[in-house]
């Protein structure tokens, strides 16, 4: 366990966390149930692939689960919007402002999180990586919802070319989202240093020392404004 200063700063509200986990769990279920068929049998080997497991009752359950998870994914943003609306606009404003420091962060981060150098530029509540992740999430969310609903309810009624295009967009969104999603999971749950941020999405609080290093601009501004909620650990 990492050593800390004993102080924690509040980063995410309960609604934000429910939104995140509902979206995340739905996304994982969608990935698992939606990608089984990609692992086809190799005609050159004895491997049977995973496609046949999408048949029968297991296949029916996987397809039904895929649709239920899709409903969870679509409902997730509503939890944030209706549960904690006051944070929606300020957070979106920050997420959609991508400045020079964010760009520098993106250039430096891969090396920094491997060797500890060079230093990262000051970041707000969301760093450049969070922002790029958010853009991918928004774009893939729109793509998944539009094409997923189209294929779910439109099969046989929408034009064939439109169906084929929807499947193509759904697949591109899948591969793009999968790459970003796995990187997000790695950095927040596995990476030795950045996984310290996970607590922010579990109980809402993150180690102040970590936040000051990774989100210095946010901590400084929030402390100055008096909006920062800081507590001693254990209190």
């Amino acid at each position: 366990m990492a050593r800390t200063t004993g102080k924690k700063i509040k980063k995410f509200s309960l609604s934000q966390r429910i939104f995140h986990w509902l979206y995340g769990v739905s996304w994982i279920l969608l990935v698992l149930t939606g990608s089984i068929f990609l692992w086809r049998a190799n005609p050159e080997s004895a491997a049977t692939g995973l496609g046949p497991y999408l048949q029968g009752s297991v296949g029916a359950a996987a397809r039904t689960l895929h649709r239920i998870a899709a409903l969870g994914l679509m409902a997730a943003p509503l939890v944030w919007i209706f549960g904690d609306f006051k944070t929606v606009l300020p957070d979106l404003k920050e997420l959609f402002s991508f400045g020079k420091d964010d760009l520098r962060y993106m250039l430096v981060a891969p090396l920094h999180y491997t060797t500890g150098k060079p230093a990262l530029p000051p970041q707000g509540k969301y760093n450049g990586g969070h922002k790029v992740n958010f853009y991918v999430v928004v774009l893939t969310f729109i793509a998944f919802v539009v094409t997923g609903l189209g294929m779910w309810f439109g099969r046989g009624t929408i034009p064939d070319e439109a169906f084929n295009n929807m499947r193509m967009v759904h697949s591109i969104a899948f591969w793009g989202g999968l790459a970003m999603g796995l990187l997000h999971i790695y950095l927040t749950m596995i990476h030795p240093f950045t996984s310290r941020s996970l607590s922010a999405m579990v109980n809402g609080w993150v180690d102040l020392r970590y936040a000051a290093a990774e989100h210095s601009r946010w901590v400084e501004t929030a402390t100055k404004n008096g909006t920062a909620q800081i507590v001693e650990e254990g209190k």
Binding site: M1, A2, R3, T5, F37, L38, R40, A41, P43, G49, G51, P52, L54, Q55, G56, S57, G59, A60, R63, T64, P110, Y113, T114, T115, G116, W152, R155, G156, D160, E161, F163, N164, N165, R167, M168, S171, I172, F174, W175, L178, A179, L182, L183, Y186, I190, H191, P192, F193, S195, R196, R209, A213
Partner: protein, 288 residues
């Protein structure tokens, strides 16, 4: 000549085909019955009013139908054009390209085979077929019953030196089964005969379309009259989806996972105990 034809069992690369000479089809639908009977497909009664056609289109249990196209004439009696419609067993098949589990494959003798055990009923093949010849029952929540269904060119029969059921039963012998090249040569001769008889628009369909179909036609009118696609093409996007995007995606996934493993190995050395090197330096004076 054609009645006794059978493929060379030692040459699975031999291209076989069915040829329908529509000028000799009488629309009796015996082929439909023979198809249902041999393949043990359920009877589905859904005739469209105002037509002699038995079904409005093919479905997952109806693999061949006779399409009836009424041709009104300005003077005298009109005529019925009839076209036996089923899977065309394309050389460049949209359904094979779209099938995510490879249940649809290019099989022996040029037949597009469907392995129902591998079919997951996703329905991707339906919109990929330019001939509306493959179908999956639509049932959103009772999905275990979903399986694609289409003409197999009686692969079980022809691979045992028998003729397809529809060919065997056709009372006018307008459906012929044989070597594809020989049938094509015969078809062009037949078209010349028909033109000499006054059918100026008679034509061969299936020779070049989609790399060559294994269901050939001698038509009395142009293909558009029969609602057959003129110069159909295999979608490049569909080809890219399966043979481009998916391998690229898997390669990127492998590269990303490999990169994360390398990063994790290096980062464990850099960020010992989860601490940034700066924290570790400052922390030498701190307590846990």
């Amino acid at each position: 000549m054609w009645e006794s034809w059978k493929p060379d069992p030692s040459n699975k690369q031999q291209q076989v085909a069915m040829l329908v000479d529509t000028s000799e089809c009488i629309g009796c639908k015996a082929c439909e019955v023979a198809c249902k009977q041999w393949n043990e497909n359920e009877v589905r009664i859904n005739q469209e009013p105002g037509t002699y056609q038995s079904h409005p289109s093919l479905d997952s249990q109806t693999w061949t139908i006779i399409k009836f196209i009424e041709q009104p004439e300005a003077e005298g009696m009109g005529q019925w054009l009839m076209q036996k419609h089923n899977c065309m067993h394309c050389t460049e098949a949209g359904c094979v390209t779209a099938c995510p589990t490879d249940a649809l494959q290019y099989g022996d003798y040029g037949v597009v085979t469907l392995d129902q055990d591998s079919c997951i009923g996703c329905g991707y093949c339906e919109p990929a077929c330019p001939f509306d010849a493959i179908h999956v029952d639509k049932s959103t929540f009772n999905q275990s019953a979903q399986k694609a269904g289409k003409c197999t060119l009686c692969f079980d029969r022809i691979s045992n030196a028998m003729q397809p059921a529809c060919v065997k039963t056709c009372p006018t012998d307008c459906i012929k089964y044989g070597d594809r090249d020989q049938l094509i040569a015969w078809a062009y001769e037949r078209v010349e005969q028909l033109k000499a008889m006054g059918y100026k628009n008679a034509t061969v369909y299936g020779d070049k379309e989609l790399g060559g179909l294994h269901e050939l036609y001698v038509l009395l009118e142009g293909p558009e009259t029969y609602d057959l696609p003129v110069e159909p093409k295999l979608s490049k996007r569909l080809t890219f989806w399966k043979y481009g995007l998916q391998p690229i995606g898997k390669a990127l996934l492998g590269t990303a996972i490999f990169g994360m493993i390398i990063n994790w190995v290096a980062a464990r050395r850099t960020f010992k105990g989860g601490l940034h090197p700066h924290e570790a330096e400052a922390g030498s004076t701190m307590h846990d």
